[in-house]
Symmetry: C2
Subunit: 265 residues, 2 copies
């Protein structure tokens, strides 16, 4: 597989994980940029040959690919100020931003979006992380696909429009799902029941959803139209109107979802 | 470990899985009851020495423990009609019903509730399934705890009140969570994106929630108070008012949840 010359714009969680993975797969990191040179240095020191910089003028850089891994609202600033060799590629790593934010740049541009949540506490298996790639020309697309292939088994070519949809879906499937776990933890805390009692059930639920589809895997009082149980639960939640609302809205949505389905059959 | 003589009331999914697991762990199944004898026979034939019956008169039975594994709304019928030897124990397996539904029975009673979702499509690791046990006297409690210990590493003594709470928490953590996956699948279907692209992200989210707690693991536009992204998402969902409501209610609840927390610090 081809080994690329890469510079990383950013020094946060995604920049760090990505830079290390790229090195691990035989690519070379040339520069690490941060507005604060000490942050750039901190990451550069963890890499073999990287140089820390705090200027966005890369006109003399040997890198072929520039990966922007900064907070979403800092990407425009980078796009408007970065100077790169004309035949290079600049890609951002954001799930939410369109490729268009990079159009001010006088080079091929694209997106290199790893669909995963990165944390300091937990290492992730990069080979399993879907990477969503987009390019504004064939050169950018093909090069970024090659780069993604070197890191992951799951590489997808995804347009900005599709990526926006993916992000909404991920908010439901991850951010909201995590919040429901938070609610259930709070409910169990009423009687000092340890939240981990639910771990096998939750993990089985998730596995089943991906195995047979969430539609077929749906269980519980809402889909059974078990009004007695629903009333009991709502009565218990009455003291907490916000949780009561969440329970009610989701229950009604499940009922509606499956009612509509039957009608459309 | 002691080997118990057991009869099973019911022939559905839970009855089947439980009966087989009990045999696997050296207990003996004496009778399998179903209102329809053919269903009882179907299960009894899969067991070593079990006899199929369609009468609830077990006065001559040698079994020490009678496990009721029927639909919730059939438990009262069984409780009001079953006849068992006086020194035996009758337990139901329901997450929602109080132990009290068994008080009409002239024997020790209790609850033997495996906190897991059973399906035909997927075998589960019984050793990892939490079993929640309750008894109306010490004999029932200790015997059912022994029985649970023989099947699982995770045995909990849980009162009817705690079990009711556990069930509400499980509706949030499992039924509602599955429904959010269903919603995200529907959203991705708009552009024919395969739902499994989210699998690594969802699994990582769940693992992280149990590793560092859902409270600490919360990410996404709501907790960031990223109004620009939230507006974008809501605009996209406007064509589907129900999903729009779910998004809005959960986003507001996350914001409120973390706002309250800061105030209380």
């Amino acid at each position: 597989m081809k080994s690329f010359k890469i510079s990383i714009i950013g020094s946060g969680r995604v920049a760090t994980q990505l830079a290390k993975q790229l090195e691990k797969h035989s690519h070379t990191i040339y520069e690490v940029y941060s507005r604060r040179i000490e942050n750039a240095t901190l990451l550069a020191e963890q890499l073999y040959d990287a140089v820390a910089v705090d200027s966005l003028d890369f006109s003399e850089s040997e890198a072929e690919i520039f990966i922007i891994a900064v907070a979403d609202d800092a990407v425009s600033f980078v796009a408007e100020n970065i100077i790169v060799p004309e035949d290079s590629i600049v890609a951002h790593t954001s799930g939410t931003l369109s490729m268009r934010v990079l159009f001010p740049i006088n080079a091929s541009v694209g997106v290199f979006y790893p669909l995963q949540t990165f944390s300091k506490e937990k290492a992730v298996q990069f080979k399993e992380i879907p990477i969503c790639v987009e390019g504004n020309d064939e050169y950018a697309t093909e090069t970024l696909l090659d780069l993604a292939d070197s890191l992951s088994k799951k590489v997808y070519q995804v347009s900005s429009e599709e990526r926006a949809l993916l992000h909404i879906a991920a908010v439901f499937a991850c951010n909201f799902t995590n919040h429901l776990l938070h609610i259930s933890q709070q409910i169990l805390a009423e009687k000092d029941i340890d939240f981990t009692i639910l771990e096998p059930l939750v993990k089985e639920t998730i596995q089943k959803a991906f195995l047979i589809s969430p539609e077929k895997a749906q269980t519980g009082p809402a889909i059974r139209k078990d009004k007695k149980t629903i009333e009991k639960h709502l009565a218990h939640l009455a003291k907490d109107p916000d949780k009561h609302t969440v329970y009610q809205v989701l229950t009604e949505h499940i009922m509606k979802c499956f009612a509509n389905q039957k009608q459309s059959k």
